[in-house]
Each structure stands twice: as C-alpha cells, then as structure tokens.
Symmetry: C2
Subunit: 408 residues, 2 copies
C-alpha cells in the first residue's frame, strides 16, 4: 500500500468473526518488502464454496486450480499470495500452486482439492515454491488475525483496506456475511473480478451457492471498471461454513433464500464499489446510468462505453461538464441509439434533450455537481425499456504516475 490513500477511501468497518473461519497472516517475502504477504483462512469441515473467475483467455494457474476445485464444492482452506500473480509462468506456475495445496493439505489433513489458492501481483515471474512453503509452515503457527489484517495482507497497489459485512434472516436464524477484496487497477471484471473473498456462517449447498454468486456478480462486480483492463487472475470465492445452524439452503424456493440472495448481492455491491473508490488515481466516484435502451444488455454496453472512455473520464477529472464526450461514447458503442432522441443529465440536471443542448442551459449547477466527489451521469436513449447502472472513476495524472512505474 505504497501510494497515498485514495481521496475516495472509506474507513474499514467493524466486521464480526464468522464461525468456522480462522484467519492468519505471515511473511513469505514474495517481494523485497517489510509486510505480511501470505493470508490463510482455515475453514471447518462441511464448508461449501462457490466462485467466479476471469474470462481472460490467459488465466493464471491459480484460476485454473480454483475452477477445477470448485466442481467439488468443498473447501477447508484458502491461501492468498500477494506480490506475485504467478500468471503466465507455464509449468513452474502450475507446480507452485500444486505444492501450496499439497503443503496445506498435509497440515490440515484434507484433500489438496479442498485448498483454494489465489495470487496477485506482477505477471510472468514463477511464484517461488520455497518461500510459499516456508510461509505456509509459518502461518500454521501464527496467532489468529482479524479481518483488517487479512485485508491488508491481500492488498498490492490498494491504498486502503476494503471490506463489508451484512446479515440476513434464514430459517429463523440470523446469518452473517463478510467480504474482503483487493484491487485498484487492471479492473474491468466482466463476469468476475480482482480477488474477493466472501465468508458466511449460513448453511448453503454448493450448487445453490454457485447460482447465487453468479446472480450477485452480474449487477455488481460485472458493472465496475477502472481502466477497462481485465486481469489474468480475477477471482471471487464465497465460503459458507454452515455454523449458523440453519437448515441448509438448497434451492431458490427455500424459505430465506431470497433474503440470503439479497444480502449476498448487497455485499458484492459494497465490495465492488469499494474497488472503484480505490481506482488508481481516482478523485471522483462516477455512477453511469443508461435508460431507454433496446435491452438491458444494450444499456450495459453503452454504459460501459461511457465508463471506459478516456475522454469522458478526463473531462470529469477536470470537472468539465463536457457532455459532447458522452454523446461520442454513446455513438461509438455500436448499440442501437438515435442521436435525436438522446437526453443527458449530470447530477440530475438535464443538459441535452432530443439530440441537442437544452435551451438556456446553465452550466453553473452542473459545474457545482462536478466539483463534488460523487458524479452522476444519466443517459436516456428514448428507445425502449432497457436499463443499466455501472460505476467507475475518473482518469487523472495519478493513474499515469502509478502505472508508468509500478513494476520498477
């Protein structure tokens, strides 16, 4: 966490422990830094797991390992390495993941496939197996860590620790959901994201947990972008220990399933927005809503075209109500749009309607809105009922500074 704290940072919340989850951190020394960089979560027997991973065609071996392990739906441990993503490292990368899983399985007395592994950091350098194994041996002896420790330990270019929690009533019992997440650049998840880890004491069977996580992912992690660049390592895993004692949820029709789904989606939305708030160089949190599109999918693609446009993002960084760039981004999206039906609002103030500037439009209230940290852009295409909301941040000198010398 080397860069100055994001001006959009949120304080780390008080988060309750989750029965059946024990956390610990250690120093594997993956980089020449003086911090913990190996996070471990021990999960009690009976924990189910679901996950969503990057759609990159060049995924890391950790992503491939998790995908295979997810088919079994059982988890006993999570290991997260920070400082080295182990992506694009061929056989040596795969060997490192297998060694980690085997080492943990030996300590725990479980199958290697019960061990989930994620890594984040530089691409192209095989994760050193000796450091990983020594780190695992150390973390087994380490005292219990709290959520803040774990969240700080999974971070890389993150400037603040990002976590959230919520509750739901299932089968008459209060279940708790906690999530931690890291990520601030190479963020355009498109069906998965960054590294995010969700824990709940609810009992949820693995196939349903997977369907619920897919449903929660679509309107949350898949609706954020920092720079349009999709990581090779994006992974979100959800672990359910079942210690709350509810009758296990197995179907969307079960009592409490709706409440749990709502809580899970809410948790994912909080975490996704925190990632945007830590977007590299971000000074504004931008909400882009597109309505009146031919379909929700079309609205989403147009909203993403706006949210990824460097000209829109630099205009907002400059607090410039340059709505012409919104028109440009709508036009280039390749989706149905009719220039002369298009309306645009900044902060709720209509600046363009039916394809031209609003008569007598006064920039002052819009300029005032743009000076704030939360910027709202609303586009109405006037075609049909399709609708989508996405979140992004502005593009500033900070992004250039961070990324022109990150690896060095």
């Amino acid at each position: 966490m080397s860069h100055s704290i994001s001006p959009l940072a949120s304080p780390f919340p008080d988060m309750p422990p989750i029965a059946g989850v024990r956390l610990a951190v250690a120093r594997a020394g993956y980089k020449a830094w003086d911090r913990t960089d190996l996070t471990y979560a021990a999960l009690e027997e009976g924990t189910t797991v679901a996950g969503v991973t990057t759609r990159s065609r060049c995924p890391s071996p950790e992503v491939e390992w998790c995908r295979a392990a997810l088919t079994l739906g059982q988890a006993r441990a999570l290991v997260v390495n920070a400082g080295n993503s182990n992506a694009f490292t061929g056989d040596r990368g795969r060997a490192a993941v297998e060694a980690i899983a085997a080492r943990v399985a030996g300590h725990v007395g479980c199958r290697p496939s019960d061990v989930f592994v994620s890594s984040t950091g530089v691409i192209g350098v095989p994760l050193p197996i000796d450091k990983a194994e020594a780190g695992i041996d150390a973390v087994m002896q380490a005292p219990a860590a709290d959520w803040l420790d774990a969240t700080q330990t999974i971070g890389t270019t993150d400037t603040f620790a990002k976590g959230a929690s919520t509750t739901a009533i299932v089968d008459g019992r209060t279940v708790t959901l906690v999530g931690i997440i890291k990520g601030s650049g190479m963020i355009a998840p498109d069906m998965a994201t960054m590294l995010g880890f969700l824990f709940t004491d609810a009992a949820v069977e693995a196939p349903l947990l997977q369907r619920m996580l897919d449903a929660a992912n679509a309107p949350t992690f898949s609706c954020i972008t920092v720079d349009g660049d999709t990581s090779t390592s994006d992974t979100v895993l959800a672990f359910a220990t079942g210690k709350a004692g509810n009758a296990p949820l197995a179907s969307f029709d079960d009592a409490g399933a709706d409440a749990f789904q709502a809580a899970l989606t809410d948790l994912c939305r909080q975490l996704a927005q925190l990632v945007v708030r830590d977007g590299e160089g971000a000074s504004k949190f931008i909400t882009v809503t597109v309505a009146g599109a031919e379909s929700d999918g079309s609205a989403h693609r147009i909203a993403m075209s706006i949210a990824n446009s460097p000209l829109v993002k630099t205009a907002i960084a400059g607090e410039d109500a340059n709505w012409g760039r919104i028109v440009m981004a709508v036009g280039k999206a390749g989706e149905p749009a009719e220039r002369d039906k298009l309306s645009i609002r900044f902060g709720g103030v209509q600046v363009a309607r039916d394809g031209l500037a609003v008569d007598g439009y006064d920039e002052a209230p819009v300029a005032a809105h743009l000076k704030g940290q939360a910027v709202e852009v609303d586009v109405d295409l006037g075609l049909s009922e399709g609708r989508a909301t996405v979140w992004t941040c502005d593009l500033t000198h900070g992004y250039i500074s961070i990324n022109a010398d990150y690896r060095s």
Copy 2:
C-alpha cells in the same frame, strides 16, 4: 495548435499542387482565436469523389450531408470549418450545413450536392450560420493558399501540420496524390477517421474511387488508435480532378489501377501514421503486430486490445518492458488464444515463448529499445496464419493535461 509540438512530429513535406484544385483560407471566427479557421478547396468540373465516414451512431450533420452527396459522386467544392464540430446540434446543425452548401453553390454556380462540408471542434454548439456565410464570402476573395496553409487551418488540438504526397504511373502518365489530415485525440476510427482530404489529378470514375478508398482505408485509418474514442465527425474524402489526362480508371482490371491503388494506400498509411505521431500527449510511436491468429480479423481485434490498453500504454510511457500487461491485453480480447503457445517480442527481442518468460531473458536490450521513440511489439499466438498490424502511441501525463481542460 495551442499545445507544445509533439516530440514525434514530422516536418511538413514539400507537396506539389494538384491541377484542378485551388485552395484558400479565411477567418470565420468560430472561436475567440486569432487564426484562419475556414478552409476552401475549389474543384474543377468533372472532379469525382469518394468518402468514408464514422460508424458512430451519433454522427454530425456534416457526416450525414457528405454521405448523401457521395451517392452522386461529383464534387465542385470542399469547405472545412475548425473550432466547432456542429455535432449533436439537431435541426440548427443541419440548417447550418445546408446554408453553407447553398452559399457556395451560389458563388460557384453548381448544385449544393456538389459541395462537401466538414467541421471539427467542440460538440453540441450549433455552427453560427452568419459567421459561416461571411467566411465563405471572404474566402471567395482570398488569394490562393498552399497545402501548409490549408492543413494548419483545418487543425484544432493538432500540434503539427500533417500532409503527405505520392505518385503513380497510370496510362503512361504520372499522376500525383496529395493528402492532408487533422486529428490527435478522439481517435479510434474503425473504418473511417478524423478529417482527411485526399486530392489527385488522376481520372478515376467515382464508383471505382470509392472501392479503392474503402480498400485503402482498411489497413490504414482503421488500424490506428490514440485513445479508443471514436469521433462523431470522422470523415475522409478523396477528390480526383482528372487533369492528369489519363484514360479514366473505371475498374480494378484497368491498366494502372493496381499502381494507383498502391499509391492511394501508401498515402493513407502515411497520413494515418502522422495522426498517431500527433496523438495527444504521445512520446512513443508504437507498432503492434499480431501473427499466428485464427484469422486476420481476430489478429486485428487482439492488436487493438493491446493498442488500447491503458496499462500497456502507460508501461511503454514509463519505458517498462512489462510484457505481463501484453498477456493481459491478449487475454481480455475475447479472441481465440492459448496462453501456453503465446510468444512476445519487444524490438525483435523475444521475451516470452510458449507461455512463459524466456530462460535467462535479459531486460537490458529491451529496455534500450523502449528508450527510443519507435517501439515495436510483436505477438505470435501460434495458432494459425491470421496477421494484423496497428499503430498507436503511449499514454502520458500530457493526455490527461490536454483533456482535463480542453474545452475550458
């Protein structure tokens, strides 16, 4: 031309006059600036015309006007307004274009549809008809201008004047081709681009000229990107006066058609690369070549994914051989790719092969290559024969500075 000159600038070449073309410039005063901003080209009777325009769904009325006029294939005049794109201005924008064409037609004694109009600058402000008409009246009295005058007058955020010329032998006669172009941001043409104007004294029938321009556009203007943002006004027009006296080219099978096509494509490539060299904030000219793809189209999409990646572009700005970001950009393109067959070269030096870093790979020669102004990135997917080359520039603080306060 308010910003400091691009470090990648090329000197404006000596360019010969084209028989049948007379240039002039005037001060319409579209903005509060002390420069010429209206360019006029008189074209002798018999001039044929072809054009390619933006695929934006929100095109400017100028683009719509040119598309309609192109169906007739005849041109007598070109008017280019700088400082105001007249895009997204509804009926008032259309009225301005019609007024300009009518005014010129009155002076020349031609049909309004023989008058081609382009405008570039801020979006959303109707072009003032009174200023346009006064400018046209003035330009009719103005002395002849040269290519440099005209090129400077069509520019907006351009930091240097961009032109190129070439020749071909057709029907035993040397024909000359000249082109001028403007553009440095909002550049991702995808089938058309910026404002570019090509003039030749060759005789080419309009339908063939259109097919030749389409063919020349695909591997040139459609293969450049500065920021991935596609303009509402992108237009390239080609005018053929026929004054060279060759038997008019009517078919690709005609003698000299191949030579003319090659010269036209060469001209377009020179102009396209000049736009990249004036990319906003550019400090490096980057050539991205993708080979071994499933198809040429797939190679092009992967090359564009690399060329548009902010993380790739900032790494190159920082002279950092961060090839992991190339892997990321290949992976996110959504095209067929196999991580373990992927090879990457910087400046011809292989840094990754078969999905991992080359053993004993030394960064020194690559770092030296990255310190230069011309950076070459070659990716081989190892799948099939598909191939594409695109050109872009790096992403620097200059881009942020230019675009966070352009309109103000």
